[in-house]
């Protein structure tokens, strides 16, 4: 049971903006796939 004054914030607080870093990670990953495919580079 969460204390009274945090009741309205039961879910992850909005200002953490988790979607932005996750979107950034996805963009970097896609860029890597694209560039690696072009230069045929891989480990």
């Amino acid at each position: 049971m969460l204390p009274a004054y945090t009741q309205e914030h039961r879910i992850l607080p909005e200002p953490l903006f988790l979607e932005y870093p996750v979107a950034f990670f996805l963009a970097v990953w896609l860029a890597n796939i694209t560039l690696a495919a072009q230069s045929r580079r891989g480990f």
Binding site: L16, V22, F25, N32
Partner: protein
Amino acid sequence: MNALKGKATSIKLFSLKSIQMRTFHLSWFAFFLCFFGWFGIAPLMAVVRDELDLTKSEIGNIIIASVAVTIIARLLIGWLCDKIGPRISYTLVLILGAIPVMFIGFSNSYESFLLFRLAIGVIGASFVITQYHTTMMFAPNVVGTANATTAGWGNLGGGVTQMVMPLIFAAFVGLGFLETQAWRMAMVVPGIAMIICGILYYFYTTDYPHGNKSDVKITADQKKKESVPFWKAAADIRVWALFVIYGACFGIELTINNIAAIYYHDYFQLDLATAGLIAGLFGLMNIFARTLGGYFGDKAGIRWGLSGRVWFLGAVILLEGLALMLFSQMTVLPLSIAAMIGFSLCVQMSEGATFSVVPFINKKAMGTVAGIVGAGGNAGAVAAGFLFKVESLSYPEALFIIGIVVAFASSLVLLVRFSPAMEKEAKAELDFLRTGEKVEKARAIAYETSKA
């Protein structure tokens, strides 16, 4: 509100007037020197290896020993802080820790070198005293920021030593010493710096804002009420959840410090100097990244209470796991560096966020809790170190697996819960600080007006 007595409610970085800020600066600098001494021998290992004829496996054992012994030392030092206070504890660690640092040069075999390396590993316990002391000096509204900054700036010592120790070694060679003598002489330098810092720490800090532990007269009854035995603090599941979480952030930072240069050298075909430079970026983020974690932890605490601090920690640890998975998959150099920097930011913010939660777990056993959680960092490094010893796993595969484990570790924040009474107490403390600040401001305005 007695617990808040004398604690600083803001960090005045350029002031040494108050005991709180003197302690802040001396504690991060002492931790910096401890890190400097702890890892001072690492950049000179190539010379030591040649002279003592060490095998790869022996070097592996030396590395693991230097980190593993710190687990036990951190557990004990937390308890010691509760018993004798942080000022004498730090003085002892600095002065006694300087002995093996200076005398490691006397070793002439693998066995004697390993013993000195083990003794040096004890210095890593200084982290717990740093966190304990800043927690004693700063109020809940800034304690996360203060803890994160002292720890982050101290951690920088690990990076700086990689650059400075080879220069000190080269200076001794330049003075005419043989290489076999120069590494031994070089290790005396951080030892002397640690002893000087230990003396300064004794004379320029106090255990608490209002004095030393020995000055505070408490009755036997009070003592019984105020002290919590080690086993009782250790029986709290939240402490062990934070132990694993800290292993998933600081443990991974130590691991990356060890492997980043080799990773870039082996997988991106870079020369050692360039690979080392890129690897150095990871540690340099400590200048601000850890502070950010503590700062946002404090902000979340002010806005959403103690559970806000915990939620923030969970979110940033989850991001760390995702960022590590991403980093392990990068095959294009600039993107790999970008991913590493993003990952480094998440790792160090997680560390800062962890120690913005720790001060609220058990105020009567602050040292014990900080010690156990701090030991988790080293335990994580030892566990991850063994994964990199598996011959069948490539570095990117090992990093990806660690990324998954870290992401799952974020769910452990669900175990870190606070009772409504604790939340209420934390809120009352913040309200008290807020009104206190208002009173101070009103006083200052009244003073200015009366002067005018």
